[in-house]
Amino acid sequence: MAERCAVIGVGQTHHKAKRDDVSIAGLVREAAKMALADADLTWSDIDAVVIGKAPDMFEGNMMPEIYLAPALGAVGKPMFRVHTAGSVGGSTALVAAHLVSSGIHKRVLTVAYEKQSDSDAMWALSVPQPFAAPLLAGAGGYFAPHIRAYMRRSGAPDYIGRMVAVKDRKNAMRNPYAHLHLADIDMKMVEDSMMLWDPLRYLEACPSSDGAAAMVLAAEDAVSGNYPPAWVHGMAMRSEPTMFAGRDQINPQAGRDCSADVYRQAGVTNPREQFDCAEVYVPFSWYEPMWLENLGFCDLGDGWKLTESGATAFDGDIPWNASGGVLSSNPIGASGMLRFLEVAMQVRGQAGEHQVDGAKLALGQAYGGGSQFFSMWVVGSAKP
């Protein structure tokens, strides 16, 4: 009963530590105008706008769709705001896609952003609560213990994380929009970087970026644009409770269920073979081997071996994060949408220097919170 839905336009900003050359409105317009141009459309062709971002406290602007409506050409149209923690960029794209696949709208603009430099994101994540322990750890402090647990459980050698950190930064050199362009990156440079949250070093963590991402999604009879469309073959969201007895934070059930759902829709039974590439939310290096296992690209405990073998490198058989990924650009609210957008670029053949040759089917994944929220989609060059 669902209608086909396609990505017909993509746009993203140059991601930087501080985009003080633009306002919040200017930032989101930069991405949105690029997506419209790519789709060969104008603001008036758009039926509805769906916007997403991480907590409002990052910019101090409550429910920003209210202020951004005119900047995004939404006046007189439906405008919708999604917030599902770090997975929000992906979830936002999915909400927009459902507006098309449900048959309600023909062309939907979806935008996600973060302007972290407008506030202190570390502060916003650690707002003192009167009943909590007087102990602040920051985002890395939440994830580092789980990384340690993964290393223990899988027996992975400690250099695996550094390999991912190097690989993704090398990929970023091929992506003009990436925040980090570290030409000299190598294993030693990562090893010499400051230990932030032991076992996590500075260069094994994502940067803090200002940036935005935008896509135009269209129904089959409304396809336009400069490149062939990327067809949506499957989409799914899953959540599990944040904390519960016996929760597996290294291989969360919600991630497994979400990928099973999206693979079923797309007819994928062997992700490593069937996908040509994947963009996966890896904010800390060790999340690549963890998600390789969680997403079924290998057996449990073997994720690090896949990374070590070079399979996920740009010239490997299943490139992960050819764009440089979250480790190279992290405008939080937009980071998930960038994963979804980058795989659309790959199957449309518009990824330029980081184009994976002949990419036809690809997986985009985003996760958020304490690894309890997941959103995923599969896009392909062929119609589903």
Partner: protein, 168 residues
Amino acid sequence: MADETTDQGPVTTLATPIRLDFDFTPGVAQSKFLRGLERGEFHGQRCSVCGKVYVPSRGSCPTDGVPTTEDVLLGNAGTVTTYCVVNVPFAGQSIEIPYICAQILLDGANLSFMGLLQEIPTDQIRMGMRVEAVWVDESDLTPSLASVRYFRPNGEPDADYDTYKEYL
């Protein structure tokens, strides 16, 4: 004349101080936990459906979605399930770096929580280490986690990995 303003360059920053005050409500279950801290005790709550003990309980069993009503007095000791060493300075930090952030599974509980670990060099901490809570002086006890100064090793042999691997 536009030139006078453009000569000064664009305005790149506009500071708007925002201060908002909130009265938080801990709720029924968390109040019991906080009252326990005021007496120097850890209190958890058991789910009537799955039997798991949560500490601190926020009032519901996260998997069953029902109120946790049975109060359970927990031990003062527990096991470090996993940990990290914080080396990064950031705003609002009240402890000198580096320090150990440990996930601690109190004896009798089914959920670990994050605590500060002291009285041990940062390179000697291990998963499975047995630790105990060190409380502030009795006269300083308040209904707040500030009543727990920190955790420290209690000298017991390390717990077997299998006993806590489900709580990582």
